[in-house]
Symmetry: C2
Subunit: 362 residues, 2 copies
DNA sequence: CGGTGTCATGTCACCGATGACATAGGTGGG
DNA sequence: CCCACCTATGTCATCGGTGACATGACACCG
């Protein structure tokens, strides 16, 4: 690859003059500039960032560490790739700032993180972002040096700047909206209990009930986590059957995520329960391919991954420029409720108790 | 950040000796090595890749350009993010080779590509990969210099090395398997006709019919592309209704992708047609969150994105090392048929003609 | 006991760009 | 008319590593 000296020789000027043309530094005569630009074009010269960096000490690089890319293939996370939307949001902000994003993937193995961090430090990344695939607590090895770190979709105990989804508020907004639509018996099928999102959303659910003046009925809350295996839908089936058999059954099922809602559609149909005529269903995540393609389209809450990425990027840039005071408060990001046809606006006051028998259709 | 000279001073040796310890170059005395390592640890020293690169001329970087990350948000591509799996496959191979992947996103605007390429060249990336979000023909600006380029999920007219899904074979394998299961009337609901995948898969469909000794009936092939808008499901509904009204209706519907299959489930159910008892359904892509979560689970063809990424990465590495002769032949990658419960293994020989009336359930 | 390796380490130049400073004309004010 | 000043350009050192080569201290061999 051609160097600045090759250009200088071809244009019959000094390397410094070429540098001036490139960076619009000091004054350059019009015909000299012309000659230099022609030489650059002719040689296909592209300046070397490495050499530049040695003097300026600015790499223009930001490192991103995620388990997202690889984790998506693991059956552990059936939800798939939504966390990559975070990467998207980050990428966009960085591109606007002329920063280049370097992406590394843990391959699902946390023990690789130190090596990745080291690689980024070798490239003198100006900051690092760690993106988790779902809202969780993490414990990362300390980053050597003064390179700032921001956590996205996760947090730690060390007060590292973090950007998190506002699960409590999201579930609250959804349930509040559902209550406003006239529903009084609102069931909640939760994800695994040990997930951060589950406990936060449960709080949001109760917040909204209280605000709406509705009583909290523990029988309406069921843990119905589905991992990948098919047999696990048994848990979900049983949970739904229990709800349907209640003397005063719910008129709407809020699901832990959209994938669960999709299964719920199938299960309800196999019971002869129509969605939304007999039973409304709501999800969480706004996993669009599901929510928009299902029939009827699914009412859900946007999990604002892209916004979170954007906020994380902005927070990191603030840290890099040194302006951002290192407030340990996590940034909470909330998304809107997306009201679609899967939840009726005026539920029947007292829906008839629906009988069913096994999996056969009515 | 500490330099090699800081380490040298602290360890009372020359910088070169530190370099030797780091790279296990020439011989170093045991106590000297010890002292150097302690100094490195104490200072948290990390060597600068930029400085290293200036001499060795090896950056260890590979540039990846994609519209994937941003395009996923656009409503144009309801399929979402599967192409990111390609990135995943690439990432894995590169990590194994101690290469760092730099990812840039076009934000859906092709006019940004030259700038991104330039950035990568400034960083002296040793090779570039362009990843498209669906199988298509592209036209990229030429990459200045001798930096090799590989196309993934797309191809051009210039003979640039490319890695592509074997759509023809995939559809063939699926239809062949379905025919082997005893189906004789196999319908095909295609994606948009102008897509590369559509024409290739149509060929595969006909290949398989011919092999199985089944006649080709043009009435069984319907263009049923669904873009994002809801009203477009009308096209799909009409296509299905036409098929159901045939005097000799199909026993199985092959869909252009899994998302379409998901809609087909809903439409069939609204017609009182049971899946798979009355009608089998197959998809394409193995979009796992759909295929595995639907009830019944969806028979589909794996679109081997991850493999494609891997192959693209390997091909690029071959180009970089100069071994790989620049064969302009595209690499075709095929994925397996995933046989699940949505297609019956022994269809009724002559399924009764199913009557329906509008959207009401039976 | 001198020559010849080998080991352990140091010296120096160089990779490609740029900052600090120098220099050579031309221009205008006092 | 001379000097201060601006414009256009060049010179040189430097950033942080590493390759090429040098050096000093032993050890081994004939």
């Amino acid at each position: 690859m051609a160097t600045i000296y090759d250009v200088a020789r071809l244009a019959n000027v000094s390397a410094k003059t070429v540098s001036r043309v490139l960076n619009e530094d000091g004054p350059v005569g019009p015909r000299t500039r012309q000659a230099v630009q022609e030489a650059i074009a002719q040689l296909g010269y592209v300046p070397s960032n490495a050499a530049r960096m040695m003097r300026s000490n600015r790499s223009g690089l930001v490192g991103l560490i995620t388990g997202a890319i690889t984790a998506a293939q693991e059956p552990t996370h059936p939800a798939g790739l939504p966390d990559l939307l975070i990467v998207q949001g980050i990428q966009r902000v960085m591109a606007d700032q002329d920063m280049t994003l370097m992406v590394a993937d843990t391959g699902g193995r946390a023990d690789r993180i130190p090596r990745l961090v080291r690689t980024f430090l070798e490239h003198r990344a100006e900051g690092l972002i760690y993106v988790a695939d779902y809202h969780q607590r993490v414990r990362l090895p300390p980053v050597a040096g003064s390179t700032p770190l921001v956590l996205a979709n996760c947090f730690d105990d060390a007060g590292t700047p973090a950007v998190l989804p506002d699960d409590r508020r999201g579930q609250h907004d959804l349930v509040a909206r559902i209550a406003a639509a006239g529903h009084r018996r609102i069931a909640y099928l939760t994800l695994r209990e040990d997930m951060v999102a589950t406990s936060l959303r449960s709080l949001g659910y109760r917040d909204a009930l209280a605000e709406a003046g509705l009583p909290f009925d523990p029988r309406l809350v069921q843990v119905a986590y589905l991992s990948d295996g098919e047999e696990d839908s048994r848990i979900l089936v049983e949970a739904i059957d229990r709800l349907l058999e209640l003397p005063d059954p719910p008129t709407v099922l809020c699901c832990g995520n959209d994938a669960m809602a999709m299964r719920v559609y199938g299960i309800l149909r196999s019971r002869g329960v129509r969605v939304p005529e007999d039973m409304s269903v709501a999800g969480y995540d706004n996993h669009r391919i599901i929510a928009e393609t299902l029939y009827p389209p699914l009412t859900t809450v946007e999990l604002p991954y892209r916004d979170m990425g954007q906020r994380a990027a902005e927070r990191l840039l603030a840290c890099i420029s040194g302006q951002g005071r290192d407030e340990p408060t996590p940034t909470l990001v909330s998304g809107p409720v997306l009201w679609r046809a899967s939840v009726t606006d005026r539920p029947a006051a007292n829906p008839r108790h629906i009988s069913f028998n096994g999996r056969s259709e009515p």
